[in-house]
């Protein structure tokens, strides 16, 4: 069927574009680069995406969806205490970051593109929503912890979700800048502190 081939080629282009944008940045990447990486002709790209900007925008959604799907697929299939679930979740995010640290620059490009240029508004809004989704993911877990009396009732779900999400995100940045940075340890310790801070019965610090 025609449709399938078209979708396949579109995905190939998105993958190629994601890689090239990650390596060279949005401005530094040319449509030629992307087409070549995808093994197609330059003009063909325009049969799938109306402009470089649109391609980049679509890469954002394609990439964000991949991440989210991975997380859902890999994570929500166990029965754990809320505390453990939180740790599992953040640790999952961190592992994903480590795996795909080569693609981290792509995220930086998204942010940069959300700050200026023709995609600014569209991208800013989309990223804002994406961040919300992640915050809500964490938020719902914290909320659950409150409801099960694991966490203190006065806990500020929204604020803390944002803080946790932000910490994980920014640890990725630091890991990207310095591969020697102990991202696993930092994430674990930060989460442990936070969870202790909001737990009704904090764990003892000694990990043995």
């Amino acid at each position: 069927m025609r449709k399938e081939l078209r979708i396949e080629r579109k995905n190939k282009l998105l993958q190629a574009a994601a890689e090239v944008f990650a390596e060279k940045g949005y401005a530094g990447a040319s449509i030629s680069d992307v087409a070549a990486r995808a093994g197609m002709g330059k003009g063909t790209v325009y049969g799938y995406f109306p402009s470089k900007e649109d391609l980049f925008f679509d890469v954002f959604f394609w990439y964000a969806l991949q991440l989210m799907t991975d997380i859902h697929l890999n994570f929500f299939n166990g029965r754990l205490s809320v505390r453990e679930a939180c740790l599992r979740f953040t640790s999952e995010l961190v592992e994903r970051m480590i795996e795909s640290i080569k693609m981290y620059p792509l995220t930086l490009e998204f942010w940069s593109a959300a700050a200026s240029g023709g995609l600014r508004d569209r991208l800013k809004q989309a990223m804002s929503r994406m961040y919300c989704d992640y915050r809500n993911l964490i938020g719902s877990m914290i909320q659950q912890g409150i409801e099960t009396d694991e966490f203190l009732p006065e806990t500020d779900v929204e604020g803390l979700s944002a803080g946790i999400m932000g910490a994980i995100d920014a640890l990725g940045l630091q890991f990207w800048m310095d591969p020697d940075f102990d991202i696993r340890g930092a994430a674990e310790q930060t989460m442990a502190a936070i969870l202790n801070g909001i737990s009704v019965h904090p764990e003892t610090g000694d990990k043995g």
Copy 2:
């Protein structure tokens, strides 16, 4: 020519460049734009900076120095408990972010430029160092807390510093994306949770 005048003009250019780069991004900003913003001729810029890249790089240091100086000037002049000092410090950072949120895109540009392009290595290294400095700032406070028995002795100073620094940073990002985001609350709550988590005598959650 008077040395002062040269310095004055150089600063004017740095200021103008910072603004233009923040508004249009590195790629979208032209030297003409910067020169016009500074009220000078295009060629004049090249009397102060050898290239657009160098200008951008210098803007980074100039901007980073400003931030650091501000923080040092505004912060280190009181006698507080370590816990309060930490809160004061992060709150200070947050206020600074709110004040200069218009310039937040500049930071995104720095990151993006550290990811690819001719400045990559130089910038990546410089940003890594800058992050280290900030982490050490927080780290030294936590260390002090441990030594004064305010914080648990088993606290992982390095990891937590990174987590705190990252959280604050990323909260800025969320605030920039969404001006309605309660960055002050999120920062405060996150810090409160963390500090509680590592405190020998956690505060009660009720703030009244």
Copy 3:
């Protein structure tokens, strides 16, 4: 794309470039000028030549090859005494110069470019070789004259070839500077003197 069309357009560009460089000089000619002269867009030029320097370099070879080909085609097809062959040859060169005197400035540009700038070494070497080829052309004729006992056996083939080649070349320069300059006469007389000077049986001066 058809190979022929590409070659055709490349030749059109070389022709246009040769003309523009001849008229405005290398530094004074812009790629825009060349493109316009060839009836193409500015960017198209870069599809055929990677840079202005390379274009100029290729023009040199293209032009030199044209000259050499013309000479071979037009000259080597008769049975003449060596003396007459020499005269025919130089006269041929002179006629060619007169015909294409409008392009003489191009040669001056080649020399100038061989003296400084990014093409210096490449061009200097290439021109040196080209001069050698021409000298050898004349040299082989003189050598033949020696072998047929038309010319004195002690004749210095190398030195004389260079002298003859140089004289013809420089007469072109004088003709270019002053269109009233009798280049045919000067070439003929100079050659006559030289050939007489090395002939075993010099001709009488009166040509009637």
Copy 4:
């Protein structure tokens, strides 16, 4: 006296300009380069020459005058046979070329500038006159040879002068291109052939 200082500085500028133009070519040389080489400020140049073009034009005359003066000073002070005088003269020219081969590119720049650009007409005319002067120098010697019955009466003075002058000139070019080129031998042999060719009593070829 003021006037002398001014003249001194002007000469220093001319010397510096000649060197820089020889090294970098007209287009490649900047006024800054010249000023720096002369140990002056950039603006000062404009106190002596109204424009870069004028400076270059003046360099031409200054340089041409130097050459001509040298030749007059060094040459016209002996009593020789016309034949010997001719050989002395050309050998003198050749020695001068060898001495100052480093400056040969300057001549190429003059030619190139005479071919196009704002100086074209002025320079072309000036160079044409200069060539005439040299031709007349040789021409007067040949004429003298005719009058003293050393040379054949039917000799074409004008044409031959041009040929000789051109040959010497072009041998310089070949020597510049290839330092291994035996310019002395080539000049000597070429002149010997020519002089034999027009002599009433040609010398025997064997030089012993």
